[in-house]
Symmetry: C2
Subunit: 202 residues, 2 copies
């Protein structure tokens, strides 16, 4: 593979796509820390300097290679359009649904794995999640504490993801989906609408 000539895929887009594809596989196989620009270049059959040229750094390559398995904007629209009194329930069901679906869970856990393994990856992921998850949610929530509310919601997703599927505490894995939704509903409501965020103590 290392012997292939640079530029094998036709044109700029082809090269860029080949690099991204190789990067996804390398990050997936080796994790963030052990993936190198050289290794990605070799896997893509291009000169490693091209990888640097297109993406600037390993963190840049990582950020570009992340594919969110679900489009958050679609889910966020689904939560916030429709009757306002159903926002909490739709959010709880979608949050649990994203984690119960094998493909989207795998994608989300891959992000968490990279973030936890490496501060550089964590910075990329912070940017990605801020742009695609926290900001759109906080725009929907509105008000001065909207970003803090969105951030607290995201900690809920992270905690359940790791507790139920990574550490896999037995009582968590045994919980029926509907019970989990029921457990999360008032918490989501509190994070979205509670007065903890606005400076007036409850």
């Amino acid at each position: 593979m290392a012997g292939r000539k640079p530029g094998r895929p036709s044109g700029d887009t082809g090269t860029r796509d080949a690099i991204l594809d190789a990067a996804r596989r390398q990050f997936g196989d080796l994790g963030y820390q052990r993936t190198t620009l050289r290794g990605v270049g070799q896997r893509a059959g291009v000169d490693p300097r091209l990888v640097l040229h297109y993406f600037g750094s390993k963190a840049g390559l990582f950020a570009a290679s992340v594919e969110l398995p679900v489009d958050p904007s679609v889910l966020i629209d689904r939560i916030f359009s429709g009757p306002p009194e159903g926002i909490g329930m739709r959010a709880a069901e979608i949050l649990v649904g994203v984690l119960e679906d094998a493909a989207s869970r795998r994608g989300f856990l891959a992000l968490l794995r990279a973030a936890v393994a490496d501060p550089e990856a964590a910075a990329s992921i912070r940017g990605i999640l801020a742009d695609r998850l926290l900001l759109p949610i906080s725009r929907q929530i509105g008000g001065p504490a909207a970003e803090t509310r969105a951030a607290m919601l995201s900690t809920l997703l992270v905690g359940i993801a790791i507790g139920r599927y990574v550490i896999a505490f037995e009582p968590m894995t045994a919980m029926p989906r509907e019970q989990l939704v029921r457990a999360l509903l008032p918490v989501i409501h509190h994070y979205l609408f509670g007065d903890w965020a606005t400076g007036t103590p409850a």
Copy 2:
């Protein structure tokens, strides 16, 4: 180092302690996956077969080498002794306090890092946290859903740990400690005492 003779520390306990000490440093420096029984043996100056003899496997060595930076039983006692109406507030303050303290946060994040990086480490950590955190908490809570309640509480700790200190979302890192306590208090109350866990929908 590899050349040192086995048994340099005096007696069984000395050898065992030297291995554990070397294991802590190897797991800390290299992470779970890249740590090997051979490397730990070399660092401890003992025959790697002794490592296997004492701890059975890498997962066993890891479990034995984990030192919780705070003794959960002391904290759990502090939460549940005293006036019952203050349980939620004491739990919220202790949860936030454990994460705000640099040493205990470092220890807890090291556990999470290992769990997320490797399924074998995750299984060890599941056992450790179940014995030392979930079981004692669920004993204090009592009732048929006590373990589920304790598990949900632990996801809160995990989510805040990663959201505030690892991914470090800006609105999370900017939250004053008292606001975080205020945000968590009703959630802790709900996980401890809410009727979501008992089969009667709210």
